[in-house]
């Protein structure tokens, strides 16, 4: 059971003078998969980055609550899992070293059972001790899912989650996403119809606002 609540309040974003979107407001308080779609440049990635606390909005506010208590920005990273093509893991380390370092920096002990389960599920177990720089782009994308899920986040944000994945990789990811959506909130920002088919609710970005 997830008790996570996300409230996006009147957020606007400008890059210089260019308006990306304006006065966007919505709430997510039930577990499940929510899609964010829109044309290229409509601000999908910017919106998910703002939700994840990586980018600041030009105006407006994002409220994250867990069990009725507001999460302070300093602690937000503990509740969020994030996957995107522009996320880069440390190539000079192996997959296992990456996961171990990330857990230590988060201040938690690496859950070896969960790491092994996810590595096995995403077909990386046999390559877990190889340096990430020797991975293909699809393998790196699969490793990003493990990075996003290893700490059991309540809000999982997937920006173009299936880019670089082959069809079997996509199926594995979809299965994983559906399982996680039973107990967590998942936001998918994508234009891929197969990604959006998983979503119970879709938010469309058009003409600088929600349509």
């Amino acid at each position: 059971m997830n008790n996570y609540f996300l409230h996006v309040k009147n957020i606007s974003k400008f890059f210089g003078r260019r308006l990306i979107f304006k006065d966007m407001t919505f709430e997510i308080n039930n577990n499940g998969i929510i899609g964010i779609s829109g044309d290229n440049g409509s601000g999908k990635s910017t919106l998910v980055k703002i939700i994840a606390g990586i980018t600041s909005p030009s105006s407006g506010e994002i409220v994250h609550q867990d069990r009725g208590k507001e999460i302070i920005p300093e602690k937000l990273h503990n509740y969020i899992g994030f996957v995107s093509p522009y996320l880069v893991l440390y190539e000079e380390f192996s997959a296992y070293e990456n996961l171990s370092f990330f857990s230590n920096i988060r201040g938690i002990k690496l859950n070896i059972e969960r790491a092994d389960f996810l590595l096995e599920k995403l077909l990386l177990f046999k390559r877990k001790d190889d340096l990430v720089k020797t991975y293909s782009s699809g393998m790196k994308q699969r490793l990003k899912f493990i990075f996003a899920l290893i700490h059991n986040p309540s809000l999982i944000i997937l920006d173009e989650p299936t880019s670089n994945l082959d069809s079997s990789g996509k199926d594995t990811v979809y299965q994983l996403v559906e399982n996680e959506s039973k107990s967590n909130i998942i936001i998918i920002a994508s234009n891929e119809q197969s990604d959006l088919n998983l979503c119970q609710r879709e938010i469309k970005l058009q003409d600088f606002k929600l349509s």
């Binding site: 990273h77 893991l89 230590n104 920096i105």
Partner: protein
Amino acid sequence: MNAKAYALYLKDFRSEIRTRYAVNSLAMFVIVATSVILFSIGNETITQSLTAGLFWVVIFFSAMSGLSRAFVSEEERGTSLTLQLIAAPSTIFSGKLLFNIVLVFCMNIVITLLYSALFDGFVIKNLALFIAAFFFGNAGLAIASTIIAAIISKAGAKGTLYPVLSFPILLPLILTSVQLTLMSFEGASFIEAKFELAIIICYDVIMLTASYLLFDFVWKD
């Protein structure tokens, strides 16, 4: 400094061992700069004040060649976003600062040993004062270099901007450190050096406080 910052330091340390991103450029700079100074001096005997000045010149430019790597390497490799997703800004700054402190101390111990061996004017008469100047000077250098590295890592012309931006910020620290080093060569007591020591300690405290306050804004887009 907490366990999370220490974990980030360990990550950077392991990464540095594998990539030699900062150590190689630091080592090359120290060797080249010291050699150039030695060649240019030739058989001349230089004064103690000039030796103290040249000592900190090499330290300043070596720091400029290596200390920016803490943030620039993350930005260039695209891993800044990953860091943002796993740690609070204060943790990241603490971890990077710890890495730079270790790097700057190791680098400057090597420079001190080289100067002791190669320069006749490098004779320390008050070792305790020299250690105090060395400690507070290096701490200030590491703190200021870390926050400046964070600022310039988001900019375009990183290589040029770093020394340009660092110079006015580090100038009070370098001048005071040169003065304290010279006083240690002359055998001055702590009482005689209390004004310079107060300046350098205040500089470190102010820079550390300002860096922690500023880093949150620098780090986020």
